[in-house]
């Protein structure tokens, strides 16, 4: 089974977004993750000096992991916006995903969470540096 088939097995619901529509809004509450099925989306974060684009997601990308691992108090740490045309995303089955996660050993759970925390911290530093260098 390749990665795409594997992700499909976890898709609970599909959602369509037109170009420029917000899929995830920074600061909103949400503890589920998504997979990008079709199209492209950009990840943005607000800084004191404006909005910074952190990267672009393509089909197969899983996003919303900061919300899923609840490392930001259950709120979204960045926005995800449909770009370059319409986008189709799959909402991953949180119940199934969380069951898989909870079955792991404590160490492995901590490890996965640590990775997401590190990404969040590095992203925050990037935003901080970006605004101080402007």
């Amino acid at each position: 089974m390749n990665d795409n088939q594997l992700l499909w097995a976890y898709v609970a619901r599909e959602e369509d977004y037109p170009e420029d529509a917000t899929i995830i809004k920074e600061g909103s509450w949400g503890d589920w993750a998504y997979v990008l099925l079709e199209g492209r989306a950009k990840v943005t974060k607000k800084t004191r000096d404006g909005t910074l684009t952190l990267g672009t997601l393509e089909a197969g990308a899983v996003f919303g992991e900061v919300g899923f691992f609840e490392v930001n108090g259950g709120t979204r740490s960045a926005s995800v916006i449909a770009s370059n045309g319409p986008v189709r995303v799959g909402v991953l089955d949180s119940h199934l995903l969380r069951k898989d996660y909870e079955a792991l050993s404590l160490e492995l759970k901590e490890l996965l969470k640590a990775l997401v925390v590190r990404l969040k911290k590095s992203t925050e530093r990037l935003c901080f540096f970006n605004q101080t260098s402007n």
């Binding site: 594997l6 976890y10 996660y101 490890l111 640590a114 990404l119 590095s122």
Partner: protein
Amino acid sequence: MANKKKIPPIKTLRYKKGDLIFKEGDYGISMYKIVMGKVHIFKESGDREVSLAILGPGEIIGEMTFLSGPNVPRSASAKALEDSNLEVWHFSRLRKEYEEMPPILKVMATQTLERLIRTNNILVNLDVKRSKTENPENTDLRASQRRFYRKKVDLECIYRSTKSRPNACLKGRIKDISLNGMGLEVSAKNGCHSFYKPGEAFVINTVLPNGRNLEVTATVKSVGENGTPGRLSMGMCFTDTPVWVKERLGFFMMS
């Protein structure tokens, strides 16, 4: 079960403040969970240390090497910022479970790792670019660093001229602060105007928002009206800053 006996037990190691825990480029066989203390994660770029994170109790370091696989060296260095106790997790303890974990979680871990590596590389490039463009000749390192890392604050402080008696303190407000200096706003009525000119030095005391006291000596570099009647703004550079003050400021700047 026989296999399990070969797995090393969890050990706790103690590191003194300033000790290097692991170095970028080394090959590792363990990751660590911080039990006590604080650890600085940084990448080296030329002679510069680019800070990536400061981590504390409950957090894990060295996990990127585990996830990247056995042939990939450490992507960053880790140093104890204070006396620290770390629980050692040998990769072998978790390797099998990681390999057998539900593939979707592995996909998430791999993608998160890729994003983290990318973000850290951008941080290093941004730091290098900034050091080249903002400080091409390395002439006034203090002043240029002050521009890079200035943080906006609004802190009450007391200050006195180094020429005054120790108890001749006046009140002012710190409007921004960096590792090398600060913007100090004072009332123009505060004592003698001859204090407020470039070259004069002040001892400044404040409490940072994280509750830590700070005492610094700083020299006036510029003085100007800041638009508020009766208030003066001074750009100041720290002089003879002790290491503990730099560390305390460093913590605050990164928080």
